[in-house]
Amino acid sequence: MSVIQSLANQYRSGQRRVSDAIQSRLATITQQDPTIGAFLSVHTDQALTQAATLDQWFKEGRELPVLAGIPLAIKDNIHVKDTTTTCASRVLQHFIAPYHATVTERLLNQHAIILGKVNMDEFAMGSSTENSAFQITRNPVDPSRVPGGSSGGSAAAVAANMVVGALGSDTGGSIRQPASFCGIVGFKPTYGRVSRYGLVAFASSLDQIGPLTRTVEDSAIMLDAICGHDPLDSTSSPHPAPAFFEQLNPNVSGLKVGVPRELLSEHVMPEVRDSVMAALDRLITQGVSWEFFSMPSLKAAVSTYYIIAPAEASSNLARFDGVRYGHRAEGCATVKEMMHATRGDGFGDEVKRRIMIGTYCLSSGYYDAYYNKAQAVRRVIQQEFNTAFAKYDVIITPTSPTTAFSIGQHHHDPLSMYIADIATIPVNMAGLPALSIPCQPSDPLPVGLQLIAPAFEEQRLLNLGLAYQQVAGWATLLEVHNA
């Protein structure tokens, strides 16, 4: 039930031309994106040229990778050479990337077609894509609601069928939460599994690139393409990358699942809780057993995250000073004045808020109380995950304690939005892989189920996700959307 696989088959059988498929997706963008607002730039000419070449190649019967001709979108904080990378920020509004991100290069090596760059919260800071300096993005399931964030553009583009898959980045839930809100699959791989080279850093020790797709199989295919060691990223793991798609196996009988009690009690909407409980029941029919357990450190995860991530961000964003590239304030008498004005005009409120938090936490006299203590808590969270994984194969939580909220709902209360990441943040703190899959068909709003595995056990998540996908009856859902 892979959308990528079925399109790839159509290309090979001559049933469908790449150019037609691309034209059709571009038409969807033209029709729907004025409402949805997923794309910040659409690479129409480049996509059609590439499609024409591929059609020629398919006609000649060339052997091509499965991703050849598959229309994708890339979050606007990942470089595609010679096109803009704005990070949805005024400070990079006209910045043209002079090089490809490693993930982009790997997708292009497989002849995937990048239809464009998609919207996000500015510098990936946010959970609603409302923090973009340029536009808001609406949830295709209910346009009065947010698509989640920060990879909201990626999720919306996939959910609205503008593309088959998209890349997002996930620092505290930025792939999984929008996938959950938009009713699609979102996969954050193990930290180090995918190269970060060419991803504009938010919090380097937490950031990870991953796919957003309609099905579990599609996520496996995309992860196969982008994962593996990269000598340009010192934190990328030398761990051998298996063939995830090839090794997909929905037989999960005997798998033991732990459900942290803390993430099904406080702050969780009743319909989310009910959906997750129903999903766990469905898994039992597949031979999976589950039980509640306790992870006390989860309560500290959000506050810990809001020290470490802003601390790293305050340093990562220092380079946007107007000296070498990007926005530069005019009419300043001194370089100091120019830097102040550039950053003052260039960054939005949420970014400034986090730079200030981070700067404060790293300041002399506060470092031990905040940053050092947060790192200690981070180690406790990692240890508690280790302990849990000694007992369970997979940990399951709701991806988000809520369904998609209304546009503007958290506008004046950033803290209430920070809490929304309570289930996703601990995963980044421990560097683990986690998959968000739709709990149920969207009625009325999608609920995401988060599956978490030990480091480098992505296959286990994909297998369990596939098993769930098969019993949950997504086929109907897909047909509705593909019509």
Binding site: I78, H79, T85, C87, L92, F95, A97, P98, Y99, A101, R196, Y197, G198, L199, V200, A201, A203, S204, S205, P231, L232, D233, S234, T235, A311, E312, S314, S315, L317, A318, R319, F320, D321, V323, R324, Y325, V335, K336, M339, T359, L362, S363, S364, Y367, Y371
Partner: protein, 479 residues
């Protein structure tokens, strides 16, 4: 005058081929902004990859300065805004540097003194600002940025506050510089900024009083400036204390032109660098195998060389001159290996050879006369085939033509004439032609003999063996 307490931080540029975190060249003097890439430009999304050669260089420095190499060290970000700093932070090492707790011995008038080395860490350099419209930043209309130097590898060597005079301070920098040069990890060029020293200095009433408030002097870029800057700063601090005022802890800049130090910033205005571990790099882990490999390949250190040359009978002057240049050491050792004795070889290496190289602006490593050729020439002097004077001539020809001594001697036939019969014939002719001189000598004016020796030399174009000439003359004149 109160007593100074001095500690020094030396920044040394490592002469790796590429930068610390990317593959750009470190070559000095290229056109501005030609050795740059997304990484050293600090473009968004670019990530650092550590240059292993720089780590090896830092380990070599650490071993030569008797520090303990740390199996695990950690890179940290030092955050501050400056237009020559592309990322808005410098990647350095902070609380877990690569080398800790060593020492270096320096010569003083009262013998060798041991100076503690607190630490050595690895860090990247910043770019360069070129101020336009004026010579300095003051009065300039604008500045342009050259990032060729951005991210070139440095080590910072920090001494303990063990230094007690300006002379000692200079000696510490000279000794450490000599070590780095002999290790082949830094060219030691202070003018080009390959070696820079910051000096921390405070005064106290006596050798046992607690330390006073210190000032850091930056921008001291020659040995002479080190001594002068310290003397000037000592005088300044002493005058303050004499007047009953206090020294304010601050960073000061030495101004060579006005012979003053002036404040750059006070402690209160000092940057809060917000150090934290660099998340883009994993901790630097050095295996015991790597450590052993570097230790085994460590070149001979200057102190050892000095001692060896001293044992071999070289003069202190020769030792100083030769040890100042590791290529000279290598050359001298090779001449000795090829059969010459150290004292004889050193005379030539420090004398005629060095003079020629200086004049031609060349180094021993590119000397057209190979060490074995020089040894061959010296063998000819030892066995009497050539006089010292003839040998100098042959050496000059060898150096200018690139020919071997053997070839030059054969071509010019310039071997020494020691044959007594041949010389007697010539001497008799000269005695006949100079009866007045013969008379003078017989009258007791022995000094006139030298004139006759000179005449023989002239006749033989300098090839006559002067010892034989004197012996024959003595016999002929009966003196």
């Amino acid at each position: 005058m109160r007593k100074p307490v001095i500690g020094i931080e030396i920044h040394a540029q490592l002469n790796t081929k590429t930068k610390l975190f990317c593959a750009c060249s470190t070559q000095f003097g290229a056109p501005p902004n030609t050795h740059i890439c997304p990484v050293c430009l600090g473009l968004p999304g670019a990530l650092p990859v550590l240059n292993q050669q720089a780590v090896t260089h830092a380990m070599m420095a650490g071993m030569a300065l008797n520090t303990t190499i740390q199996a695990v060290s950690v890179f940290a970000r030092k955050n501050y805004f400056y237009p020559d700093l592309p990322k808005g932070y410098q990647i350095s090492q902070y609380d877990q540097p690569i080398c800790l707790a060593g020492w270096v011995d320096i010569p003083t008038e009262s013998g060798t003194k041991r100076i503690g080395i607190t630490r050595i860490h690895i860090e990247e350099d910043a770019g360069k600002l070129l101020h336009q419209g004026a010579d300095t930043i003051a009065g300039s209309t604008h500045s342009i940025v050259d990032l060729n130097r951005a991210s070139t590898p440095l080590i910072e060597i920090v001494t303990e506050p063990d230094i007690r005079s300006a002379t000692e301070a200079r000696q510490v920098v000279e000794t450490i510089r000599e070590h780095l040069i002999h290790l082949g990890i830094c060219d030691g060029n202070m003018e080009e900024g390959s070696l820079r020293a910051d000096i921390n200095i405070s005064l106290r009433e006596s050798d046992t009083s607690p330390f006073g408030t210190r000032c850091e002097i930056k921008n001291v870029n020659s040995f002479r400036s080190i001594e002068r800057a310290i003397q000037i700063e000592m005088t300044r601090q002493n005058a303050l204390l004499d007047r009953g005022e206090t020294v304010i802890q601050q960073t000061r800049q030495y101004d060579e032109a006005t012979q003053t130090t002036r404040p750059l910033r006070d402690k209160e205005e000092s940057h809060d660098y917000r150090y934290f571990p660099e998340p883009d790099l994993t901790p630097l882990v050095i295996s015991s195998e790597w450590m052993a490999r570097v230790r085994d390949a460590l070149p001979e250190l200057p102190a050892h060389r000095r001692n060896r040359y001293h044992q071999a009978g070289l003069s202190p002057f020769e030792i100083d001159v030769i040890v100042a240049d590791p290529h000279a050491c290598t050359y001298l050792d090779a001449v000795e290996q090829a059969g010459a004795t150290y004292p004889v070889a050193a005379k030539w290496v420090v004398g005629d050879l060095m003079a020629w190289l200086k004049q031609e602006n060349r180094g021993y490593d590119t000397c057209p006369l190979t060490p074995s050729s020089l040894a061959e020439l010296l063998a000819c002097v030892a066995d009497g085939t050539l006089s010292g004077k003839l040998a100098k001539g042959v050496l000059e020809t060898c150096l200018s033509t690139g020919e071997t001594p053997r070839t030059v001697i054969q071509k010019t036939g310039s071997t020494q004439v020691s044959d007594e019969g041949e010389l007697t014939t010539i001497i008799d002719q000269i005695l006949d032609a100079n009866p007045d001189v013969v008379e003078k000598i017989k009258a007791g004016k022995g000094g006139a003999t030298q004139f006759l020796v000179g005449q023989v030399m002239k006749e033989t174009k300098g090839r006559a063996n002067p010892d034989v000439v004197r012996r024959v003359l003595s016999g002929r004149l009966g003196i």
